[in-house]
């Protein structure tokens, strides 16, 4: 069946077609009954909404074709992400079209399974129970748990809770940064998480804050970090990162300082002490660090005294600097102490108000602290809760430590109601499932920080039979209260009406404009704070378990956050940039530990804590601190992934399963770094699917770097234009534009957003673990990590690699049928129709960026509905590769033609470029001397990968600018 026809055929408006997504192609064309002026078959419509894959609340715009959303992009108008989107945001589409998505309400079939029910019947069960409780005066036995909802839905739920006399709503976010709030309470008397202005800092000193991965708002901070850090006009900021593990964020640092886990606070105080001693900080901080001994701090943390002094010097001289703290090793029982130390450091360097700005406070400040979640769990365990309502996106049975025994507590609740729309570990414990609509199908709003209110609007009709949680709860609430619609404390007929009611004062009459922009964005006046210097204190973190064991670092994953994004196969297949592993979890151990245990990569290791044992394959890392073992969080498979992409393996991949429920007493936050684990070799193997054969470039200069000084000098002097290489042949003439691209290796942070964006845009199939491990992944773009220097302390260079669109392309002349050829606009064309599949081009490509369809890859329904109708879905036996988003080029030219003008620089953006938070990728016309891409091509930092092969690529890379010891 031809996929494109499918889209041509079902050009129907309304719910009928959009819900199914599994209609069979027929040779009939169904016209609209009533024309929908917003949707023209064959023309994309865009709807702005807010990404709800994590609490960062980035604005997205959804591209709707023929009634289906086919692609998400960052909303360029949104102040948080300004057009960029992370990989999890892109992958939200796979949640929307998830093959396992729950269709219609489910109720227990009396045993372990579910049976479907009507909405009326399912709602009645819940309403009856709640009504009975309320009538019995036991309203407190009703508990509502949702993810962070600080907008209308939160407001409505709070009214609902009030109306029914239920327990106060609990917002559950596993990563809640309570310690930052607590420290700010202590030092600044303000219970908030401020806005960190990376863009204004000269030096960023991060104590474990993985802001490129998950910390607070990764797209926003990666974006502003790039503005501060990447080399522009001879200037570049400095980034120093302190962490026991070389995370993605750490490998972007100019200087990565490896410390013993949990000694960040100590280091911060030692730095402050040095600053005070050397007169770089105000005397009043002297008292706070009076008890700090730099030598002792150096010994405990494993960081040399010289390094501490150096860090202090660099940080103190920054105008301004910025110190941030977070991440797993700053989440021990001493987390608040560490954050206090960091606050003191910021205050001492005069950064508060400059780069640490209160006022535009983060939404995270409104999350219910973990301690209250724990007390709810206690109440459930004691049988005090009889109805538990779980919103979508919360999966406490997976994301909370097993030490809390939450699952057992939930089992004691008489009626558990889940609003999940894809089954997860917690919905499996529910008695009634009332699937909520996906956020792409919903009305709502979300405020990621003060002053910014993003609006959610349905971007398509629901894919499966599901209803907004607000609607369902309004109905249940009214039924329980016994009132009619329009009356009582919750009178609104639908959640949509409630939302629009709350928006009315915000939008001031221009609802349409606000919806088009994606919300209402206002600047918030900075709030002045007064500093209270409290005594610096840095106790070691208390760790549970065998003291001789290794410290368990259960760290949030860039790809899955807390696990809620793991429903997406795209994310499982997008490699973890540091390990380049796909489709499995692993335990990262240091080379020393591996030697002691006698294991190599892929050997199974049992990780035992006081709470239990986890069996995972080992990933041996030379750079990890020897006293630590690290496991990424969030790895889980949904049923269809298990059968299709990975060999069925029921064992857990989740480090939370062996984590004790320990809190940081000062903040009530969960201590993620709270366990010592002992490792034993199991003797079996489960090789990891690692895509990159080696991180050693073998002197091939694929990813190049230049020292900061040299880069400055070159930038000043410019680069002499190179004479064109001599040739016997006629140079190719380009009658129209010649497309080209530059990629700034210095700006690239390795976040993989481009990889997933490309996958979404270009209908790239998912291949599964076995194929990926065997070099058969199909990504058109890959993100390589090349390590230089000492293996235990490498400098990492990230190199996005895609088809280089060579002018003298080795792939083209070898194709017997002209399937590969050079287009008039300077691209390497690949004509799928013509391809016979000799794979000669794939061999002859020195970059190995050509991908072959080894099998007929399927898009299990309804994921096939997501396919971009402008891009061919390739048949088995066909070679494919990056087209530089040809369909976008065609669309851009078409748009310009409609407006009777030439294509302007910036009109056309490739999918990878569009989503890049750091704007490392620039695309444009190389024939236009004024275009951004031409200017960058002539940059002194410009080079081509494998230049000596003589392929003359259209993609130019810009060398990474290295500072620090490796420069």
């Amino acid at each position: 069946m031809n996929r494109r026809d499918f889209f041509k055929i079902v050009t129907v408006s309304g719910a009928a077609a959009a819900t199914g997504g599994c209609q069979q192609a027929s040779e009939t064309i169904l016209p609209l009954v009533v024309p929908n002026e917003q949707l023209i078959p064959g023309v994309a419509s865009w709807f702005a909404t807010v990404c709800r894959e994590c609490p960062a609340g980035c604005g997205v715009i959804a591209r709707n074709r023929e009634g289906r959303v086919v692609k998400l992009e960052g909303n360029p108008d949104h102040p948080v992400n300004a057009g960029a989107l992370c990989l999890r945001g892109h992958a939200a589409l796979q949640g929307l079209y998830h093959p396992d998505r729950i269709a219609g309400p489910l109720v227990r079939d009396g045993g372990p399974g579910f049976k479907s029910a009507t909405w009326d019947a399912a709602a009645k069960i819940v309403a009856d129970k709640i009504g009975a409780l309320r009538a019995g005066g036991k309203g407190r036995a009703i508990a509502v748990v949702t993810q962070l909802e600080n907008g209308s839905l939160g407001g409505l739920l709070d009214r609902w809770v009030q109306a029914l006399g239920a327990r106060p709503r609990v917002t559950l976010e596993p990563f809640a940064y309570e310690s930052i709030r607590a420290a700010n309470r202590l030092t600044f008397n303000r219970d908030a998480i401020p806005y960190y202005a990376f863009e204004d800092a000269e030096v960023v000193l991060s104590f474990g804050a993985d802001f490129i991965e998950t910390w607070l708002s990764n797209v926003s901070y990666a974006r502003t970090f790039a503005r501060m850090h990447s080399f522009r006009d001879g200037r570049a900021g400095t980034f120093i990162h302190v962490e026991p593990r070389q995370s993605l964020t750490a490998s972007n640092a100019d200087e990565w300082v490896r410390n013993a886990p949990g000694t960040e606070g100590l280091l911060a105080l030692a730095i402050l002490r040095v600053m005070v001693d050397e007169g770089a900080a105000d005397r009043r901080f002297g008292d706070a660090v009076a008890s700090v001994d730099v030598k002792r701090a150096a010994d405990e943390s494993g960081v040399g005294v010289e390094t501490i002094k150096h860090l202090a010097k660099v940080f103190a001289h920054a105008k301004p600097g910025l110190a941030v703290g977070g991440g797993v090793s700053v989440s021990g029982t001493n987390a608040t102490q560490t954050q206090v130390a960091i606050n003191l450091l910021n205050a001492a360097a005069g950064n508060v108000g400059k780069t640490v700005r209160f006022g535009a406070d983060s939404a995270y400040g409104k999350v219910t602290p973990y301690a209250e979640v724990a007390s709810l769990a206690g109440a459930m365990a004691n049988g005090e809760v009889e109805v538990l309502i779980l919103g979508p996106g919360v999966n406490p049975a997976f994301t909370l430590p097993s030490g809390l025994k939450l699952a057992d507590a939930v089992r004691k609740v008489a009626l558990v109601v889940s609003f999940a729309n894809v089954p997860d570990q917690t919905s499996a414990l529910a008695h009634v499932v009332l699937p909520d609509t996906h956020w792409l199908e919903s009305w709502g709003d979300y405020s990621p920080r003060e002053g910014v209110v993003g609006f959610l609007q349905p971007t398509m009709s629901p894919v499966r039979d599901s209803r907004p949680m607000g609607d369902t709860l309004l109905r249940i609430g009214r039924a329980a209260l016994g009132v009619e619609e329009g009356k009582g404390p919750i009178p609104w007929p639908t959640f949509e009406q409630y939302v629009k009611g709350t928006w009315a004062p915000l939008v001031k009459g221009d609802l349409e404009g606000a919806l088009r922009r994606g919300g209402v964005f206002a600047d918030v006046a900075p709030a002045a704070v007064t500093l209270k210097v409290v005594g610096g204190n840095a106790e070691p973190a208390k760790l549970d378990g065998d003291p001789s064991g290794l410290t368990l670092l259960a760290y949030p994953s860039l790809r899955f956050y807390d696990g809620r994004s793991a429903v997406s196969s795209w994310l499982h297949e997008a490699p973890d940039t540091m390990t380049q592993a796909v489709w499995d979890a692993w335990v990262e151990i240091s080379t020393e530990t591996a030697r002691k245990l006698g294991v190599v990569q892929g050997d199974m290791v049992a990780v035992k804590s006081s709470q239990g044992t986890l069996e995972l394959p080992a990933y041996v890392s030379p750079s990890l601190h020897p006293s630590a073992a690290a496991i990424p969080m969030g790895h889980r498979y949904t049923p269809y992934q298990r059968t299709r992409y990975v060999a069925a393996d029921a064992r857990s991949l989740n480090p939370m399963d062996i984590l004790p429920a320990v809190t940081d007493p000062a903040s009530g936050g969960l201590a993620f770094m709270s366990a010592k684990v002992t490792l034993t070799r199991l003797g079996t193997r489960r090789p990891l699917a690692v895509l990159q054969a080696t991180h050693d470039q073998d002197d091939r200069e694929l990813a190049q770097h230049v020292a900061l000084g040299a880069a400055r000098e070159q930038a000043l002097r410019g680069r002499a234009p190179e004479p064109p290489p001599p040739t016997l042949y006629e140079e190719q003439k380009y009658p129209g534009p010649r497309w080209g691209m530059t990629i700034d290796v210095d700006a690239c942070v390795g976040c993989q957003a481009c990889v997933v964006s490309c996958q979404a845009e270009n209908n790239v199939p998912v291949v599964g673990k076995a194929s990926a491990a065997y070099g058969r992944q199909l990504h058109w773009m890959r993100l390589e990590r090349w390590a230089e220097g000492k293996p235990e302390h490498p400098t990492n260079l990230f190199l996005p690699m895609l088809c280089q669109h060579c002018e003298v392309a080795p792939c083209e002349p070898v194709c017997p049928v002209y399937a590969a050829y050079r287009t008039e606009e300077g691209l390497n064309g690949q004509v799928y129709n013509r391809c016979v599949g000799t794979r000669y081009c794939g061999n002859n490509c020195p970059y190995h960026v050509r991908r072959f369809n080894w099998f007929q890859y399927e898009f299990p329904a309804p994921l096939d509905v997501q396919l971009n109708p402008d891009v061919t879905v390739r048949q088995l036996g066909v070679m494919e590769k990056c087209t530089m988003c040809l369909q976008r080029i065609i669309a851009g030219k078409d748009r310009a033609r409609d407006e009777k003008r030439a294509v302007r620089d910036g009109d056309i953006q490739t999918a990878c470029q569009q989503t890049c938070p750091t704007q490392a990728i620039t695309f444009g016309n190389l024939k236009d001397e004024g275009s951004a891409v031409t200017k960058l091509t002539h940059s002194p930092r410009a080079y081509h990968v494998l230049e000596e092969v003589g392929t003359r690529p259209s993609i130019t890379y810009l060398r990474k600018v290295v500072r620090g010891p490796h420069a």
Partner: protein, 197 residues
């Protein structure tokens, strides 16, 4: 006797090669075009286009702004047919669909070969007449088209004739593009990826 068996085995094996190659190759050739068949409503193009001179784009209104020409919504048909010829049996069928709020299941007539993109919009913008590709629609009762590659043309080609390429095949598109570039001074693209991407 035994020799015969040997010869038979050899022959069978070779035959198996040929049969296998033939079947597997044939089954994956590009699909031939759909045959026009009966439409749910016997829609006379000649009356609408020929007699009443209704512009093609009045009904196929997406042609100028989309890749697809589109079909008129039932609402649009009813715009006229609430009054005009409302008593005719075929128009009553239309009214039925409208009353039931159901789309009319039109049968596809024009079908491009697989994996090919054809934007109507660009061709309308270039000022082409619909009839240039779709034939004399104003004389057709029910729309019919013979499209797609044909074995006959392939065979004729093989033996050295070069018959005119059948409608909606690549050669047919190319022929027109080349002709337009040569005679009308246009810049109709001939780059493969214009249509195949």
């Amino acid at each position: 006797m035994m020799a015969k068996a040997g010869v038979g085995a050899l022959g069978a094996a070779l035959l198996a090669v040929l049969v296998f190659l033939a079947i597997s190759s044939w089954s994956r050739q590009p699909a031939a075009a759909a045959k026009p068949s009966a439409q749910p409503i016997n829609f006379p193009h000649n009356v609408h286009v020929g007699t009443y001179k209704i512009d093609c784009q009045y009904c196929h209104s997406d042609a100028r702004r989309s890749e697809y020409a589109g079909l008129p919504s039932v609402e649009r048909c009813m715009g006229c047919h609430k009054i005009v010829a409302a008593d005719k049996p075929e128009v009553k069928k239309l009214a039925d669909y409208h009353a039931k709020k159901e789309p009319i299941p039109w049968v596809r007539v024009n079908k491009l070969p697989e994996f090919t993109y054809f934007p109507h919009k660009a061709h309308i913008r270039a000022g082409l007449k619909c009839q240039g590709c779709h034939g004399p629609v104003e004389t057709m009762t029910t729309f019919a088209a013979r499209t797609g590659t044909s074995l006959r043309v392939d065979l004729l080609n093989l033996v050295g004739f070069s018959p005119a390429p059948p409608p909606l095949t690549m050669g047919w598109c190319i022929e027109c593009h080349r002709e337009q570039n040569a005679t009308a001074g246009r810049r109709a693209p001939l780059d493969c990826v214009t249509c195949h991407h």
